[in-house]
C-alpha cells in the first residue's frame, strides 16, 4: 500500500482534482448542460440504484466474452504453433492469413446474424473473429522468432513431440503469444460493446446504449465508470498472469558465484 501511494501519489492527486473540478462545474456554474453532464452525486446515486443491473450486465457480457476468448486461445495458440513449426504449410496458407486478418470483424456481422440462430452465438462468433487473429499471428511470429540456440539445444537433447512443444516451443514463444493475447483482450472490449448494440437485452455495452436512448445520462455515466473499472481490473489481472508466465525473463541472481 505504501509503495502504491509512492508510485501513484500524483495520479491520485490529479484524480481528486478532476473530481473536484467536476463537482465545482456542475454544482456552482452553469457551463454544462445538467442533463448531459449530471453532477457526481447524482451519478453516484444512479450507480447505487443500478448496481444489480450493472452486475447482471457484467455477467451477461462475460458469458459472451469468455467462450469466445477461450476458443481464440485454444485455436490461436494451437494453430499458431502448428503453422509456426510447419514451414511449407505456412507458406501455402499465409496469403489467406494476410487477406483475412486485417478485415474488421464487424464486416462479418451480416453473416453472423444470418447464419447463426441466436444473438449470443452471433456475438460470440464476432468476438472470436476479433480475438483470434492477434493470438494466432502472435503465436506464429513467436515460434518463428525462437532463438536458434533453443532449437540447437532441443536438437542435441533429441526433444520430440509433446516435450518439444510443451518444454521448448511454447515457453520460448510465450512472450509474443502473450503480447498477441493482450492485443486481443483490448480489442475484445471494443467489439463486445459493439456487438451488444445489435439485439442484446443485457450487457455492459447494452446498459449504456439503453439509457442513452432515454437520455438518462446519470445512468450512462454510471455505466461508463463501471465498464472502465471492469476493464481496468481485467487488464490488471492479465498483466499479473503475464508477469507470472514470463517470470524467467526477469530473474535476479541470488546466492554466491561459482
Amino acid at each position: 500500500m505504501k509503495k502504491f501511494l509512492q508510485l501513484y501519489i500524483y495520479t491520485t492527486l490529479i484524480a481528486i482534482g478532476l473530481l473536484a473540478l467536476w463537482v465545482f462545474i456542475t454544482n456552482f456554474t452553469e457551463l454544462l448542460n445538467p442533463i448531459i453532464f449530471p453532477s457526481p452525486e447524482i451519478v453516484a446515486l444512479a450507480f447505487i440504484e443500478a448496481i444489480t443491473e450493472l452486475f447482471q450486465g457484467f455477467l451477461s457480457s462475460m458469458g459472451l466474452l469468455i467462450p469466445a476468448f477461450a476458443l481464440s486461445l485454444i485455436l490461436g495458440i494451437g494453430g499458431g504453433l502448428y503453422f509456426g513449426m510447419n514451414q511449407r504449410i505456412r507458406e501455402i496458407l499465409s496469403p489467406f492469413f494476410q487477406t483475412f486478418s486485417p478485415l474488421p470483424p464487424t464486416l462479418f456481422i451480416p453473416y453472423a446474424i444470418a447464419l447463426l440462430p441466436t444473438f449470443e452465438l452471433a456475438s460470440i462468433f464476432i468476438l472470436f473473429i476479433a480475438t483470434f487473429w492477434p493470438i494466432f499471428l502472435g503465436t506464429i511470429e513467436g515460434v518463428l522468432l525462437i532463438d536458434q540456440h533453443y532449437w540447437d539445444n532441443a536438437k542435441t537433447l533429441r526433444l520430440k513431440g509433446k516435450d518439444l512443444i510443451l518444454k521448448m516451443v511454447l515457453p520460448a514463444s510465450s512472450p509474443l503469444i502473450l503480447s498477441g493475447t493482450g492485443m486481443s483482450l483490448g480489442l475484445s472490449f471494443i467489439v463486445l460493446m459493439m456487438a451488444e448494440m445489435f439485439g442484446a437485452n443485457s450487457g455492459m455495452g447494452h446498459f449504456v446504449q439503453y439509457y442513452t436512448d432515454f437520455t438518462q445520462y446519470d445512468f450512462v455515466l454510471a455505466g461508463l465508470i463501471f465498464n472502465s473499472i471492469v476493464i481496468l481490473l481485467i487488464m490488471v489481472i492479465y498483466e499479473k498472469i503475464k508477469k507470472r508466465v514470463l517470470f524467467w525473463t526477469n530473474l535476479k541472481k541470488t546466492g554466491s558465484s561459482i
Binding site: 539445444n153 537433447l157 541470488t254 561459482i258
Partner: protein, 288 residues
C-alpha cells in the same frame, strides 16, 4: 597356430590403436557465399581431449557445429563412431557458451528433461529427479536444484550445463567456448572439472577456445586454425606435458612458457600474414 598368432596380433591392435572417435574428411563450408572452412581433415581418437584454437572468424566454432551434426557441411563427410552423421545426429552432448539451459526450467528440470529423452520415459518422475540430483551434486550444485538459470551466476550455469551434458550419457562431449564469459577463478575450477570428466569417465572432448593457456592446460592435441575466412587447419600440435597436469608447476615451468610462446607464435604468424595480405590489397586499391 596361425589362429593364435592372429588373435595375438588383434589384441595388439586393440592395445596400441585406440579407435577413431571422429573422422572429418575434406570438409568445406560456406555461408552466404563466403567460404568459412576450407579442406578440413581431422581425426580424433577415443578418449582424446582435442582443443580447436584460433582467432575469431577462423571457423573453429563452425567446425564444432558441423561435428555435432547441427549443421551439414557443403562438401566432405564426417564420421562419428565410423558412422556418417549426415542422416542422424551423432550420440553426443553439447555445452554452448552461455545458453545451454532453458531459462524457464530449473536446474533439475533441465536435467530431468534431458534424462527423460535419453531413458525413453522408462523411469518415474521421482527416479528422474533423484538422478538429476546426482548429476548436479557431481558438479557441486547440490544447493541449486530449484534455481532457474536466470538466478545463477555464469559459473553455476556452466556447471549445470556440464551436468546436463553428462546426464545424456554419451562418451563424446562438444564444448563451444564454454568458459569464455567466466572470471579467472571460476574458469580454473571448471577446467579442472572438465579434465576430470575426460579422464575419470573416458569421455572424448572437443573443446573450442581462443585462450592459449586454457588450450595447453586442457588438450592432448591442439588444432590450430588460420585466421579466416576461410579457416584452414594451420597445424595440429601434440601437447608435450603428461596428464594429470599440475597447474601451478606447469605454469611456472620454462617448458610451458616456451610452448605457449610457440603456440602464440604460430597464431601470430598466421595473423600477420593475413594482415599483410589485406594491406597489399589496400595498396593495390590506392594505386587505381
Amino acid at each position: 597356430m596361425t589362429k593364435v598368432l592372429e588373435r595375438a596380433s588383434q589384441l595388439d591392435v586393440k592395445k596400441n590403436n585406440v579407435q577413431n572417435k571422429i573422422e572429418a574428411k575434406s570438409i568445406f563450408f560456406d555461408y552466404d557465399g563466403l567460404e568459412i572452412l576450407q579442406d578440413i581433415n581431422l581425426t580424433i581418437k577415443e578418449g582424446e581431449f582435442i582443443v580447436l584454437m584460433g582467432p575469431s572468424g577462423s571457423g573453429k566454432s563452425t567446425l564444432l557445429r558441423l561435428l555435432t551434426g547441427l549443421t551439414q557441411p557443403k562438401e566432405g563427410e564426417i564420421f562419428v563412431n565410423h558412422q556418417s552423421i549426415t542422416q542422424s545426429l551423432p550420440d553426443s552432448s553439447v555445452v554452448f557458451q552461455d545458453y545451454s539451459l532453458f531459462p524457464w526450467l530449473t536446474a533439475e528440470e533441465n536435467i530431468m528433461l534431458a534424462l527423460k529423452q535419453r531413458l525413453n520415459k522408462s523411469k518415474t518422475k521421482k527416479e528422474l529427479e533423484q538422478l538429476a540430483h546426482n548429476y548436479l551434486e557431481l558438479v557441486q550444485l547440490g544447493h541449486a536444484f530449484k534455481k532457474y538459470p536466470g538466478e545463477m551466476s555464469g559459473g553455476m550455469r556452466q556447471r549445470a550445463a556440464i551436468a546436463r551434458a553428462l546426464s545424456l550419457g554419451s562418451d563424446l562431449m562438444f564444448m563451444d567456448e564454454p568458459f569464455g564469459a567466466l572470471d579467472p577463478v571460476t574458469r580454473i575450477r571448471l577446467q579442472d572439472l572438465v579434465l576430470r570428466v575426460n579422464q575419470d569417465q573416458q569421455r572424448t572432448i572437443v573443446f573450442v577456445t581462443h585462450d592459449a593457456e586454457e588450450a595447453i592446460f586442457l588438450a592432448d592435441r591442439i588444432v590450430m586454425f588460420t585466421p579466416g575466412p576461410p579457416g584452414r587447419i594451420a597445424e595440429i600440435i601434440d601437447v608435450p606435458f603428461p596428464k594429470p597436469r599440475n597447474r601451478k608447476k606447469l605454469i611456472e615451468s620454462l617448458e610451458f612458457i616456451q610452448f605457449r610462446n610457440y603456440i602464440l607464435g604460430i597464431m601470430n604468424k598466421e595473423i600477420f600474414e593475413k594482415l599483410n595480405q589485406q594491406n597489399e590489397l589496400l595498396l593495390n586499391g590506392n594505386g587505381i
